[in-house]
Symmetry: C2
Subunit: 118 residues, 2 copies
């Protein structure tokens, strides 16, 4: 589904007029959906493992052992991350290769700084 986080980021990320108006309810909902996908230690480790892997991509078999969970559980977490727009899935032959979406984390960080700073 890839929640878009289309919150209007000000022209420049640095030194915006700080918090002018509070976040709207729909924007808060969208941000919360993305953060909920991130707010799990296993998913953070999976994201990190994929990012640190050779070529920036990894298949499920590379990730099952490091996190110490069953294969269905790892597949479930990866699906959550893909649905949140944080990971991409590329099935080549028998293997499914996951890679981090380039700007996704930056967007989250930018919204946090822009909308909630003081």
């Amino acid at each position: 589904m890839a929640t878009a986080l289309h919150t209007t980021v000000e022209a420049q990320a640095c030194c915006a007029p700080l918090v002018a108006a509070p976040i709207s309810a729909p924007d808060a909902d969208a941000l919360a959906r993305t953060l909920k996908a991130l707010a799990d230690p296993t998913r953070l480790r999976l994201l990190s493992l994929v990012a640190a892997h050779d070529g920036g991509e990894a298949c499920v078999c590379d990730l099952t052992d490091p996190v110490g969970l069953s294969q269905p559980t790892v597949s479930h977490h990866l699906k959550v991350l893909v649905d949140a727009g944080l990971l991409t899935r590329d099935k080549r032959g028998v293997w499914a290769y996951y890679a981090v979406v380039p700007g996704a984390l930056d967007s989250v960080a930018a919204v946090l700084d822009t909308q909630l700073r003081r």
Copy 2:
């Protein structure tokens, strides 16, 4: 309890050697605790409302109406945010004034960029 997020941030936030090694399990746990506090639309709105309020602080009575929830529920969410180290509580007389912790959100954003970028 104020989870510290003491993950060692590289010397400069910009252009670090990207993801060298995956996040450790304890670090992932600490980050997840903070993100879990953020991953709720009501708490995001409360954080935003406090940040946007005059003087950077607000009491419970200022926040109950905008979010449309009961007073105990708002108090509960504020306690979660304080326990996560994202808000401070200052009780003056009958009122309790909440304010955003200056660097907290920046830390979260920095860890996201540093540990999970590619």
